[in-house]
Chain length 436, copies 2
């Protein structure tokens, strides 16, 4: 293997190196030939000049096709604009590529999605997925630094976490198993054993909705903290999102430039993020001409309006209890202490990203009373038997606790400015999309 990578070309100035990669583009300018090679870490221009470069390589240059694999040997040097280029001495062909289906011109999305396995070689897709990789690494780094234990929730589960209408199921030997919709309930188990944990894994929703924010298979990070209340939860979410955005801005300048992402805008994403109650949000929506009756959930226009109002991520807390899941702690007042039992509000908090990228965090404080939870499970027409292990968290040392889930793809979409979440994951799974 070869230590040289285009991304660290600056360390090789003046040295002879071999780029191992693929032909990205070629052009001629009189007797000089230019060969753009990509090696996965970046793209480098090679310059072929008669006398410096072997005649065989000149001949080969004429035959090369896009995406053919090559080894290009030459001297690393700075070009007049300060980029590092290669003074090519020799090109060795590894494999000549067939006529490549994706040219540098525009193609329809359907065609590109069918060729997703090749499309990801294109600059914007490549840059988006590099940012995704950095975001995922930053997520692990943040929670590790903060003393959280990485705690895997199971993917195959015997019952549902977020309602039963969007479940994928499989035969599990003699019974039925469901693909997890969220690791939260298991994450709560982890918080009681380790104090602070985070679940990170794929989650599944058999959603029939075809929007730019929905995938059937998506990745979530779900921290859960014992002895944390709703305010602590928003503090954690704020610190976390600020850290992720800050790190991406710091480390992914090259990728964000390819994506033409406005860096200035990202640089303003710093805490404190506004925190408004659902009641306040309703008033803002009314004022902005997209009012909804109290008790309804937000849709895309409402999230967009809240983004416009604040220009940065905004927490909405204290939602109507009736639209939230059974496990939320409830309260009769906004800001007051929670009640044991049913209240008007759920102690939830959603973080809405600007520019219509939607809810990137959903979470809140959990109900810690075993009796209140049992009642809630009955009201939601769930089977208490399925939640017996979950109720045990309240029977054996219940404590106030909170957590949230952050959707990786929506976060990548927001940070990279992607039009659709399908571009933020290598192989998106959507309604009618299971290939490649």
């Amino acid at each position: 293997m070869n230590d040289f990578r285009i991304s660290n070309a600056s360390q090789f100035e003046g040295k002879i190196v071999t780029v191992q990669g693929w032909v990205y583009n070629m052009r001629s300018s009189g007797k000089i030939k230019f060969l753009m090679t990509r090696d996965g870490s970046g793209i480098m221009q090679g310059v072929l000049v008669k006398g410096e470069c072997s005649d065989e390589s000149f001949d080969l240059f004429e035959k090369l096709t896009q995406e053919s694999s090559v080894q290009v040997t030459g001297v690393v040097r700075k070009d007049p604009r300060g980029n590092f280029e290669l003074g090519v001495q020799k090109i060795d062909l590894i494999t000549m590529a067939d006529a490549y289906p994706i040219s540098l011109k525009d193609h329809g999305v359907e065609f590109l999605m069918e060729n997703r396995h090749l499309w990801i070689r294109s600059q914007k897709q490549w840059a988006t997925l590099r940012v995704r990789s950095e975001i995922i690494h930053t997520i692990h780094e943040f929670f590790h630094k903060e003393g959280f234990v990485h705690f895997d929730a199971p993917i195959l589960t015997p019952s549902s976490c977020e309602g039963t209408s969007t479940l994928f199921s499989t035969n599990y030997f003699d019974e039925k198993a469901f693909l997890t919709q969220s690791g939260q309930l298991y994450g709560e188990v982890g918080a009681m054993a380790f104090g602070k944990i985070y679940v990170f894994g794929p989650t599944f929703r058999a959603e029939k909705s075809k929007t730019r924010k929905h995938l059937t298979e998506f990745w979530m990070v779900e921290p859960e903290v014992a002895f944390a209340n709703l305010a602590d939860n928003m503090d954690l979410g704020e610190k976390f999102v600020e850290y992720v955005v800050g790190t991406v801005v710091e480390k992914c300048g090259k990728e964000l430039k390819i994506l033409e992402r406005d860096l200035k805008e990202l640089e303003t994403i710093r805490g404190p993020f506004p925190r408004i109650s659902y009641d306040e949000a309703i008033k803002i929506l009314e004022k902005r001409g997209v009012g909804i009756p109290w008790g309804e959930d937000f849709g895309a226009p409402h999230e967009t309006a809240l983004g416009e109002e604040f220009g940065k991520p905004v927490f909405v807390h204290h939602m109507p209890a009736e639209i939230k899941a059974f496990y939320f702690k409830q309260s009769d007042t906004v800001g007051g202490p929670g009640v044991t039992g049913n209240g008007k509000y759920a102690l939830g908090c959603d973080l809405i990203a600007p520019k219509g990228y939607g809810e990137i965090i959903g979470g809140g404080q959990r109900e810690e009373s075993v009796d209140a939870l049992k009642r809630r499970i009955a009201e939601h027409k769930l089977d208490e038997k399925d939640y017996s292990w979950y109720l045990d968290m309240r029977r054996f040392g219940s404590v106030p606790h909170s957590g949230f889930g952050l959707g990786v793809e929506r976060t990548v979409a927001w940070i990279t400015g992607a039009e659709h979440v399908r571009e933020t994951i290598p192989f998106p799974r959507m309604l009618n999309t299971l290939r490649p």
Copy 2:
């Protein structure tokens, strides 16, 4: 929220702090009472002495049950053995726990598995899962440092990677989808776009085998590198395993001590690891009295014998082609260059852990010829149509490439000395085990 955590008690010597946690154990010695509290980061002894501690707290102490949640306030001080303990001033009860089903005495495994959600609070399980968390973090850290892009393979796939007998399936809208058995084929796509990638995610095998090394749902890390051959692949695996073990020894001393793991043995796990061909392995097995005919796969006794022979992880390479998957590059000789087409050997490499922990790495060099692959797909009675995108990796810039998969749970089992992989994941999924 509270900044104090038992794991960083040393930073609070002489200060008054509040431990937020759960009652782990209690004992009395005359008029002095001892309260062991766990907070998820560790266990701390609190000492109650009349006059220093409130009378109400003394009364409460008498009523406390195991796993009740409490806040214990007191002064952090060093005990005569150098540990930090708490001179308790006050105990506040959060919730009194019901009679806790798991006592500090022994229970049967079946019972403990049914109460897995509580069992993980016990010291050895807690320590094992903390080591798991550290191993996972170290895996991400290693590949990030080495310039690999984190590249997620899909979980829902339209076809199989490792044979069709152990697949879980689900209805995916109007067609059938399978839960991935390995992200490798998709990882190869990533290597052609990014040069070096790693897939990290859950994988599934509907195995009916009930052994101490099998789960139906387990996590794998699968690096894949373009322009890497079999020897490069073993170099990477060796460096990786050495790094993971070294980091765990460095960072998890406390956990390994709880697990009574022999640190000296782990400290010897340094490269170079022996590399032997399958042919050589067959001779060693013969010599050690567990001979098998050439062409057969290793079972547990053979892996154990190889571990005894070398006392550290050992790579076995150049296996019989006929027992390996369709995507391996093949060769007619051990050590010779690969052939385009069928050979006697597959350019595979498995890393066998010592002491019967089995194969922790399986991998090798991939076939890069589109024609050879097509033939292989037909021979394995697979449907070429399903692999059209995979074949595209050979049509458009094929290069030699290699990779491997490391099973997280087996690695955790080996490093922690766990008896069974079920203890190395929070919620193991096995034949007949889908709960909690």
